[in-house]
Symmetry: C2
Subunit: 475 residues, 2 copies
């Protein structure tokens, strides 16, 4: 890996590391990938965590068909226009030309909501809180593995509520959940906030997001939670009889978390030796490398069994015939958070030699201490990864009031820019045209920047600004 | 439900009960269904069990793209011919006509095996043991919910081995696993066996199956495990360098377990009051119905909390405003294995009134006994369901040597027929033409029929028979 440098050429490094670490292979159709077992295991662990959390909120899983009749997709005009350029279409099946074309789901609002209309009669049927874990298809112009796949995996949640407050609260509760997953599980810092009118989901009233800064100074949209208002309920006639006997349209949300998160993990944490995985989603939390000599094999294996019994973690024992040095490199490439090396010396002293992937540091620990300290060690690794991500993001987030400076930053080092904006689409367009930066979100809290909008002027037009917005070039 | 009788009109009963019990809704595209949350929860529980078992065998999950270039599907001739009439095809995407048509996966052999060819170099890379949980599309001529959906959910496992023995052993190990799942988890009796040449999977050397008898006397193929031999490895050039330095083609298997199993559960166990669910896959194992009067609400709720703490089961507390009688009917319809009714009398005596859905019997149990006995109660429920299924199947399985009798059975009561067959396709075809019965499998063990093939003659042509085969009209 030595020749490809993350700092110098991020995307080359990224494309190289996901192949070398055996996360993916390229599919035969442009923009598709094979999620190999090492990547899929990350996804399984992440799924289990997200699934448990959304179930705690009362959400139930179900499954809707992948094929959406084209006429369904057409019903919400903005939504249709937003997705039409990206859809894949089935035109024949069962040996026959189909009478109606079928869109392969890019998202499921338009197939789900006609059923909401059927299922919901009264306020007693609300809220509806559902979710599905599926594949979705969006024909990407510039595919990039995990980040923009033609086919990706996700969960899509959909809810219906009696009033706007309840719906908005729910959309924001999901945003908080996603933020928590990114910060506490994936150890990735970012900004939670609201999207601009031009950047929001096609058909939504408002879109909320978690925006991450990748090492090349470009932003990644980590997830989205949409306040759909009554846009879809009016189109699909989703109404309920309220306590006051009146028929009212429901208020809806939809929200998604995708395999793009794997790309974020790779990009944010990795280094020139390969992946660095946060402990909670690492396929193996620990790899044990036995250093056999001619006489110690039995003893070492007994010792390893003891470790496995004492520590209830996902442990891989690499007893293959490769050399220890080769194994060290391989498991560093694959980002296993903790390595334990066991040779004769370790057995004799009943001490373990450990290696932390994040800091690339060896340390020793007594076997009988490991059991009590292992959770602390992983917590410390995860904390360190999060701090690094936070520091990097803060270091590369610039408060800018002057447009020349804005342009210069985007031409040179890039990164996040916090700037006052009038919230008019024209300024947003001009900024994009001239700097390739788009609005990422209006952050909800800006911890380290004590920004008061006060009488600030829009960074572009110098008219009165409505708020501080996060700008960046984006993936 | 009273008017629709399972015994008199099975399919009408089935279609009625899956809607009433809220398992499905019909999708907008013919042959598709919405797996509603109650059905999806059954699938989730079943998935978790199957997933754990296959992982114990060393199988790893991954994910391949849903779109297969048509040229890939064409490579194995038999396979292509078998699946072509059933495929759905994407012809344009991203606003453009595609240069190559894309088949929406009906199964994934042809997209996976080119990668096997790439991934496998040496005997050290074997065996390959992988699996994916996905949706698949097969354009069914006569769709029937769960049993023959245009889109269904499944797991598909794929393995590659160094020799035929190892591959065949693996295919049979999976068949045993599926048999165990059907018998011990779903409480459904059936016959494990090998498919005939005309009924096997397109492209396989041999297909193994678990055949179930539904109440209308028709057979349901519960799952399949294929010994693919070297058919695909020769087409896709999947070779390895063996220890002897020679390049050899791998031996492969593939195997699948689908949402059809939900249809089997509904069909086999249900009665005229609705579903009856085996305990291990029931979304709720217990429903508690509080019988409130004016003064006991607090006390009852405290009592219920105590039950929830003591019994770690999936419990639903139905505290809605409906009458107890309404709730009883509703939860019987939904097949919850055990109901607990709690009113003032129960609290006073510290005794629970329970209702077993399978036997429709009430019984009393002391609160402090419930904790110790609950697992036995569920084991007894599941055992009873399995025994019923076994008795029904045995009662409707007929040993037949005379073709007139064969025809008469298929014209009247239907069911399984065990008959000697010469294994020539011509007899099989004639039997199908004349009786609608097909060979279901050559059973591997026939516990209660001491059948020795000896000098038996084929039930149709009276030439020497090769073995006893199971015949039935099938779904």
């Amino acid at each position: 890996m030595a020749e490809i440098n993350k700092e110098k050429n991020f995307s080359e490094w990224y494309l190289n590391v996901i192949l070398k670490a055996d996360l993916i292979d390229y599919g035969p159709v442009r923009g598709t990938i094979i999620f190999k077992s090492y990547a899929y295991r990350i996804w399984e662990k992440l799924q289990a965590i997200v699934d448990e959390e959304i179930k705690k909120l009362g959400v139930k899983n179900l499954y809707f068909p992948i094929f959406i009749p084209e006429s369904f997709l057409r019903k919400e005009k903005e939504h249709f226009e937003g997705f039409t350029p990206e859809v894949a279409v089935v035109t024949y099946a069962g040996g026959e030309e189909l009478q109606e074309k079928l869109v392969v789901r890019p998202t499921s609002e338009t197939i789900m909501y006609p059923y909401f209309a059927k299922w919901i009669k009264s306020y007693r049927d609300l809220p509806i809180l559902i979710n599905q874990w599926t594949n979705v298809i969006r024909w990407e112009k510039r595919p990039f593995p995990f980040i923009r796949n033609t086919e990706f995996l996700w969960q899509e949640g959909h809810t219906a509520h009696k009033d706007h407050k309840e719906a908005l609260d729910f959309a924001l509760k999901i945003l908080s959940l996603y933020e928590k997953i990114y910060q506490e599980i994936l150890c990735i810092y970012g900004f939670s906030g609201r999207k601009s009118e031009s950047e929001k989901f096609a058909g939504a009233l408002a879109t909320y997001t978690y925006e991450i800064l990748l090492p090349d100074g470009k932003a990644l949209q980590g997830c989205t939670s949409h306040d759909l208002g009554q846009n879809f309920s009016k189109v699909f006639n989703v109404r309920f009889q309220d306590k006051d006997k009146k028929l009212k349209y429901v208020w809806q949300t939809s929200w998604g978390f995708t395999t793009r998160a794997i790309g974020a993990i790779v990009g944010v944490h990795g280094d020139n030796d390969g992946l660095i995985l946060p402990s909670k989603i690492a396929p193996y939390e620990i790899v044990v490398v036995p250093i056999y000599d001619k006489k110690n094999e039995k003893e070492i294996n007994k010792f390893i069994e003891k470790i496995k019994e004492e520590i209830k973690k996902d442990i891989f024992i690499d007893a293959s015939e490769k050399t220890p040095g080769y194994k060290f490199n391989e498991w560093e490439l694959k980002g296993v958070p903790l390595r334990i090396e066991i040779g004769s010396e370790e057995i004799q002293k009943q001490i373990l030699t450990c290696f932390r992937r994040d800091k690339k540091e060896r340390f020793k620990i007594k076997l009988d201490e490991l059991k009590n300290k292992i959770n602390d060690i992983f917590a410390e690794i995860d904390r360190n990864l999060f701090e690094r991500s936070k520091n990097f993001t803060e270091k590369n987030t610039f408060e800018v009031r002057d447009y020349k400076e804005f342009k210069k930053i985007m031409e040179t080092k890039r990164g996040f820019i916090l700037a006052p904006w009038c919230e008019k689409e024209k300024c947003e367009e001009k900024i994009k045209e001239e700097t390739k930066a788009t609005t990422r979100c209006r952050p909800m809290k800006i911890e380290n920047w004590k920004l008061k909008i006060g009488n600030s002027k829009c960074v572009y037009c110098k008219q009165k600004a409505k708020g501080y917005w996060l700008f960046a070039q984006s993936y």
